[in-house]
Each structure stands twice: as C-alpha cells, then as structure tokens.
Symmetry: C2
Subunit: 146 residues, 2 copies
C-alpha cells in the first residue's frame, strides 16, 4: 500500500461475512459447534464445514493445510490460505442468558477456563473448542458499541 492520501471515503462495508478457524477435523469441529450453539450447516465436504451464524455470517471450519494451494472453481481461483495456533472468536449473548450458557457448557462437558468481569459491566466466559481455539461468550458492555 502506498503512503499517499486515501482516495476519499470508502463505500459501505455491510458486516463481517466470513470468519475462519483451521482445524484438524472439520466434521469434529462442526459437531462441537452445532451441539453447543445449534448453528445450521451451510456447507460441508471433507475439507470444510461452514456454519450459518446470525448476522448473517458464516463460520468456516477449514481442514488445516487443505487450502494452502489456490483452489480452482468454475468462476475463478480462490487464493491460498491456512492457519495454525489457537485462534480467538467471541460471540455476543444476552446478559439474561449467562447462567444458562454456563450450565449448558458444564452439561456438555466443556470446561469453563475462565470468567472475566469487564469494567463496563460485561461478563465473559472463556472455553476451548476441540482444536483448542479460544472461544468467548460475552454479555453487553464489553466494547463502546456493544
């Protein structure tokens, strides 16, 4: 990117449409997210499970290292991507549902790794998915707009 002045105001970004996690076994990850959250399945094959999130948005569970070469589609080439590590995602929940979520995690055998109280009043529950990605459920009051 050049250091020149930006070319005026950007057009509207509606919302984040896709976010990605890189997992050992997409079917295993899909099962976890569907059992815990009930997200509908948007697409699945051996290399990828895609779950429909409210928003609307899509959570992409990519098999690690299955997309590190560009992928041909009839409509063009999807460039390479791939990731490792224990990534972080957070989902917004209602404050009134916090205790229900806590109980649900416990009932499903998902250890709650931490609970954080934030300065503006939000409460967060932290836990792991089967690939040790760090998930958070947060009630309102965490960010200026939330």
């Amino acid at each position: 990117m050049t250091a020149s002045a930006p070319p005026g105001k950007p057009p509207l970004v509606r919302h984040l449409l896709e976010t990605s996690l890189y997992v050992e076994d997409p079917a295993r990850a899909q099962e976890f997210y569907q059992r815990l959250f009930g997200f509908p399945l948007a697409f699945a094959d051996q290399r990828l499970s895609a779950l429909a999130l409210p928003g609307p948005a899509v959570l992409l569970l990519f098999r690690r290292d299955a997309f590190t070469k560009p992928g041909r589609t009839p409509g063009g080439l999807v460039p390479a991507h791939g990731g490792a590590g224990h990534l972080h995602l957070c989902f917004a929940i209602d404050a009134a549902d916090l205790a229900v979520w806590q109980e649900r995690l416990t009932t499903l055998g998902v250890p709650i790794e931490s609970r954080v109280h934030w300065p503006r009043g939000s409460e967060s529950l932290y836990f792991r998915d089967p690939d040790n990605h760090l998930l958070e459920l947060a009630t309102p009051g965490l960010w200026p707009d939330y």
Copy 2:
C-alpha cells in the same frame, strides 16, 4: 465434550462479536484496515489494535505471540491464544459498490489477487493485508442467507 444428547435448545447467540488476526505489527495492520475500510479505532496499545466493525463487531489485530500466556485483568484471567499463518476473513459489500472497491484497492496499491464469480451470482475480490492474511469482499448471493 461428552457424547450425550444436547441439553435442549441453546439460548440465543446474537452475533459474532470478535474475530482475530495475528499480525507482526498491530499499528501497521491497523493503518491498513483504517485506510482501506475506514473502520473506527476501538482500542490500541503496543500488543493489540481493535477496530469497530459494523454489526456491531470488533476486529482484533493481535501482535503475534504477545498473548500466548494468560493475561491478568482486574476482573479475571484472559486465557492464552495465538496464531500463525494466512487467515481468511470476508466482508459483505453491496453489488453496486463492487467497481468502486476495485478502483479503491488499485488506487491504494493493494493488488487484487483474484476475482471469483460464484454460482448464485455473488462476485468476490481477493487481496492481502500486510501480513498476507487473505481478505475477501463479497457481494450478495454467496451463501444461502446472504
């Protein structure tokens, strides 16, 4: 997670609140995202820049390896996380703005790595951020709910 039946219907997830990228230099990444998209800054320090996305949501630009140990806060411990690789995010744009985005990327010196036409009519532009994360701008018609 146990193999037992799920404990009834999950409470509502409102929306994805935070998604994360792991970058070499949060200030450099922040500058890229702000110049291209105009996302307001929600928080910044040496280890993290947080940008407010429409939704509302937050894009977290974490300095790679700065959060691989749990972080103490007055309200509790934030568990460890961290990532590597070239992760993928996609933002929803209006079909009418596709040409403007294409021109904006070019003007800002951001190479368009690929353009894909999807079966249901969506068009995607693919490009890279300064850490080679794979970004996509997609018009409606890509997913069942979008």
